[in-house]
Amino acid sequence: MKKIKVAIIGPGNIGTDLMYKIMRSKYLQMYLMTGIIESEGIRRAAGLGFKTATNSVQAILDDPEVQIVFDATSAKAHTMHAPLLKAAGKIVVDMTPAAVGPYVVPCVNLDEFSHVDNFNMVTCGGQATIPIAYAINSVANSEYTEIISALSSKSAGPGTRANIDEFTQTTSEALVVVGGADRAKAIIVLNPAEPPVMMTNTIYSIVKNPDEKKIVEAVNKIVKEVQEYVPGYQLRVPPTIDGNKVTVILQVEGSGDFLPKYSGNLDIINAAAVAVAEKVAYNLLKEGK
């Protein structure tokens, strides 16, 4: 069966884990890994038999075979890459908080974007909490939603650390835009405990219609949908209703493709990104492109 050729810019932890996930895909073919230096990630991709380059985005622009691009660099770099990739007709899955394109959370709004050429993956905390926020809002009407994402220190890379405000600001914005709350707040906590803690997320929502049965049903349904692309996504505390406040706590265990299992935060954003790309690839294949 024909597959769509994929390139990754940024051979770091995210890029490398994406590579392993893409290797398992029915619709995507891992094809090119590109970076800026001859790094460990480049060597690993070359060792697996993939094309590699060290001239960053240029290698993709020069190669008409590439149809889908994952940008795992930084918001600043992606802002420069985006117009070039667009002009070259590539479809982009943006792992950075640049938000050139719309926020996408696969089980919530992917179907709305059939003709988008740049998808933004929000943040890891956004991918973990927006499905629940969306499910609660869809049946209970959220006035205010607040999330707390706790990550193990080891799984928070230098990019996250240097731009921690981007996490809170992007996540809270997406909780409104995609999750549907009227107002939102996002908090991130890093915990250095050894052995590393699993990514844990708490979702609180103040709602207008605290109908327990409907909320529980909606949350359970969306958890199953997320589990289709993130098997380690599970509730720790089921929807608990206290007056007009709903509390849900969940844990994300990574699949351990390349990164350790405690890095559920990296796993969920990568799994979501691959789900987006697969949908795009499926449509391209269906259209015979």
Partner: protein, 341 residues
């Protein structure tokens, strides 16, 4: 050799906010800030207990917006500096800009003791705005003196004006404090400060130990108002430092009167060491977890002690109040008993 000046950093209107469940009013903030300014506090810190923008479901909503409190305090502060606390991951640089415009001139940027690098941008932003910037390491009992030096140097490189060690769990004994403060003091060129909680009844002793090892900024609150068993009691600290011959620049009778006449009537309960707060200090648990733990224990019909010991075992850090609910839920499924106790 004359003893160095000890700067009193009063945090009644910040850490004390936990003990009144973030209910300070404009009138209360005005009276306390104005009193502290008159008696000679170096820095008066005002924020939600979890720092600016801490008002939330997780940490409790402020009854009065902290910005209103800061604005009111700024009107009456003449000599002291007006400070705020910010915890990156909760508050942002945008929040910092807002309070800067309202008159705050000191930004204490707090991270867990091993995570200083998340605060580099906030320290730099505070300096760019012309503020005094302080690197504040929470839960410092959880790291070795060497690790603390490594983390403090990240703050120093970012431009911090002093480094504050916080015994957020009230876990340390005076020797723990001495080891950390003395190595830090000998390893960096900027001043060192210390913040304690009285969960083991050691906050005055620990503050004195810090001072004797060279700390020159000490956090305290009137009547000890603060999370857990409270903070170092300001009026007691001033009396002890005075007896030991240190200059704090504080009016001792003035701070006694302020604590008794203005702060005490506001208090919701006496700041004594009850079982819950003793457990914080014993198990090494973040002091602000206390009141949230009582609430969860009641809701899930548990003994607060069981929740606290589990929080300590799981090494939860500041800001993880949500895990109190997770642990309470898990314990209640096990029949309400922590079997390993």
């Amino acid at each position: 050799m004359s003893k160095s000046k000890i700067n009193i950093v009063d945090t009644t209107l910040r850490d004390g906010s936990h003990a009144v469940s973030h209910s300070f009013t404009v009138d209360q903030a005005t009276a306390i800030a104005s009193g502290l300014d008159k008696v000679g506090a170096s820095i008066i810190e005002i924020s939600h207990g979890d720092g600016i923008a801490g008002s939330s479901i997780n940490y409790g909503f402020s009854i009065t917006d902290e910005k209103e409190l800061i604005k009111a305090a700024n009107k009456v502060i003449k000599n002291s500096k007006l400070g705020i606390l910010i915890i990156p991951g909760i508050g942002t640089i945008e929040d910092l800009q807002e309070v800067r415009e309202l008159g705050a001139s000191v930004a204490r940027v707090a991270t867990h003791v091993t995570e200083a690098d998340v605060a580099i941008q906030h320290i730099r932003a505070a300096k760019d705005m012309g503020m005094m910037a302080v690197g504040f390491l929470m839960m410092s009992h959880m790291a070795s003196p060497e690790k603390i030096v490594e983390q403090a140097k990240i703050f120093v490189a970012a431009g911090a004006d002093y480094i504050n060690l916080a015994d957020s769990a009230g876990f340390m004994t005076p020797n723990d404090v001495r080891a950390r403060v003395s190595l830090l003091k000998n390893s960096i060129d900027i001043p060192v400060g210390f913040h304690s909680h009285n969960n083991l009844g050691l906050s005055i002793a620990n503050s004195i130990a810090a001072v004797e090892e060279g700390a020159t900024y000490i956090d305290a609150t009137c009547r000890g108002l603060g999370a857990g068993a409270g903070n170092t009691q300001n009026e007691v600290l001033c009396a002890v430092l005075d007896r030991l011959g240190y200059d704090t620049g504080m009016d001792l009778y003035g701070i006694m009167d302020l604590a008794e006449q203005v702060v005490e009537p506001i208090m919701k309960r006496p700041q004594v060491i009850k079982t819950g707060s003793l457990m914080l200090g014993y198990a090494g648990v973040y002091s602000s977890f206390l009141l949230h733990t009582y609430k969860a224990a009641e809701k899930y019909n548990l003994n607060p002690r069981d929740i606290l010991i589990e929080l300590g075992k799981r090494k939860m850090v500041g800001g993880q109040e949500d895990m109190i609910i997770e642990i309470a839920h898990t314990l209640s499924l096990k029949g309400g008993k922590n079997n390993e106790l």
